[in-house]
């Protein structure tokens, strides 16, 4: 049994939502618990607005919990410098954002920031980005290509955990299956711990791993 990599204990989070021009406070996560082992793949399903994205954002501290504790390798994530925590816990968003510049500029972002030893060529090969695309303007790529770039860019930081926030929801069926395969291969090759948020039951079944559902602020086994 692999050691516990990530643990959430009693995590609660309220968010403000605009209802008829008023901001209404809603509890979105309620005393949530989760344990993820090293190298484990966990898929999290749930209806829109159930708090799946919020949950991921709490793990790499893009947002703050209202109560409870999140532990990375047994240490409170608040004990890490936020930037270092985010290097260790990479995140791929639903809608990929390409930074200004070439694909190469995008892929080298993390390497320049953190001085990693991953080569651009390795990253592009592992993520299926053709070599002739490296000097193309990243802003002109298709959504599927941009998503590959954002996955490669996140991997450039050599993260130990990857948070995937519906990474294929803006893609067509062919690109969706390619990205799925790519991520699953990467998980095995790099022994990555992955939390994969999806709203599609079929996708969760295809991906495999531990399947959980976020319902009324808590995680349940699917």
């Amino acid at each position: 049994m692999n050691p516990v990599h990530l643990e959430l204990k009693n995590v609660s989070k309220n968010v403000f939502r605009r209802v008829n021009n008023n901001m209404v406070r809603t509890q979105i996560l309620s005393n949530l618990d989760l344990k993820v082992n090293k190298g484990e793949l966990v898929t999290i399903m749930g209806a829109s607005g159930s708090g799946k994205s919020t949950l991921l954002r709490l793990i790499n501290r893009l947002s703050e919990t209202d109560s409870g504790i999140i532990l990375l390798k047994g240490n409170d994530i608040r004990s890490y410098v936020p930037m270092e925590l985010r290097r260790r816990i990479g995140m791929v968003f639903q809608v990929p954002v390409a930074f200004k510049g070439s694909v190469r500029d995008n892929l080298s972002f993390g390497i320049k920031l953190w001085g990693g030893n991953t080569g651009i060529e390795t990253l592009s090969r592992d993520t299926g980005i053709p070599g002739n695309l490296l000097d193309a303007d990243a802003g002109q790529l298709s959504t599927g290509e941009k998503q590959r770039v954002s996955i490669a860019r996140a991997l450039g930081n050599q993260p130990e955990i990857l948070l995937l926030d519906e990474p294929t929801s803006s893609l067509d069926a062919v690109s969706e299956q390619r990205i799925e395969k790519l991520l699953l291969d990467l998980q095995k090759e790099r022994d990555l711990t992955i939390l994969w948020v999806t709203h599609e039951k079929e996708q969760a079944q295809r991906i495999g791993g531990k399947r959980l559902i976020l319902r009324e602020g808590r995680l349940e086994h699917a």
């Binding site: 893009l62 947002s63 703050e64 985010r86 290097r87 968003f93 972002f109 993390g110 920031l113 930081n157």
Partner: protein, 250 residues
């Protein structure tokens, strides 16, 4: 006699403009702004008159007061950002003083209240305008580019890197009017100082030289002030844990 005529003409124009602007719903605002401008400028003229009789150092508190009011105006435009007031006053004051001093050091202007107050006010006023435009645009860019900023943050970038493109856009947008003015200087318009000097009977070459020196310095002051302001305001948009604040665009 001339001043009475000019003031009467101003009052007449303010009333006329306000009457016309009523159809746009800004008649009241024009009356208020016009009256304020008239009263303020007369107070300023009286202060300068008094300052002529006082020792030179009396000019400096007046300049500081102008910079403080300019800072407050920019701070209000920023939506009263946390720690925004001291930062705005500091940026406008430093940039204005930095670009004003050489004019007196190299002897373009004599060190007298009659020169210090008006030239200082030009720098402060312009630095305020550019800073207000810059902070307003910067804030707008941060709100609109939340996804991009959070993508940077999620890679472990510091807030100043994550908001770097927004800052650049804020400064660029704020400087566009000044750049356009600079391009058309002498073709489309004759700026205030040169006009004043020509009306006062100065040599056109002398008036033009002083004007262009002032113009480029004013541009530099605006650029420095907006850079300082935006740079030191970045923290106000983020929490201590380098999170983009939730009221920024969600």
């Amino acid at each position: 006699m001339l001043e009475v005529l000019a003031i009467a003409f101003t009052v007449f124009l303010v009333i006329l403009s306000a009457a016309y602007a009523r159809r746009f719903g800004i008649g009241k605002e024009i009356i208020l702004a016009g009256t304020r401008a008239l009263v303020q400028i007369l107070i300023l003229a009286s202060i300068i008159l008094i300052l002529f009789q006082k020792p030179l150092y009396w000019s400096f508190p007046i300049l500081i007061m102008m910079a403080a009011i300019a800072g407050y105006t920019t701070y209000s435009r920023s939506g009263k950002l946390e720690k925004g007031l001291p930062v705005a006053i500091f940026s406008i004051t430093i940039a204005s003083i930095l670009m004003l001093i050489p004019f007196f050091l190299v002897g373009i202007f004599p060190v007298e209240a009659r020169y210090i107050i008006p030239s200082g006010s030009i720098f402060i006023g312009n630095a305020m305008n550019v800073s207000s435009l810059a902070i307003d645009r910067y804030k707008g860019e941060i709100k609109n580019r939340r996804a991009e900023i959070e993508t940077y943050l999620a890679l472990g970038a510091r807030p100043e890197i994550a908001a770097g493109a927004c800052l650049k856009q804020g400064i660029l947008s704020a400087l566009i009017p000044s750049i356009d003015n600079m391009k058309n200087l002498g073709i489309v318009w004759i700026p205030g100082v040169m006009t004043g000097m020509l009306l006062g009977g100065a040599d056109p070459m002398e008036a033009a030289s002083i004007q262009i020196a002032l113009f480029t310095s004013i541009f530099a002051a605006g650029m420095i002030a907006s850079n300082l302001l935006l740079h030191f305001s970045t923290d106000s948009f983020f929490t201590k844990a380098a999170q983009l604040k939730e009221d920024m665009g969600q």
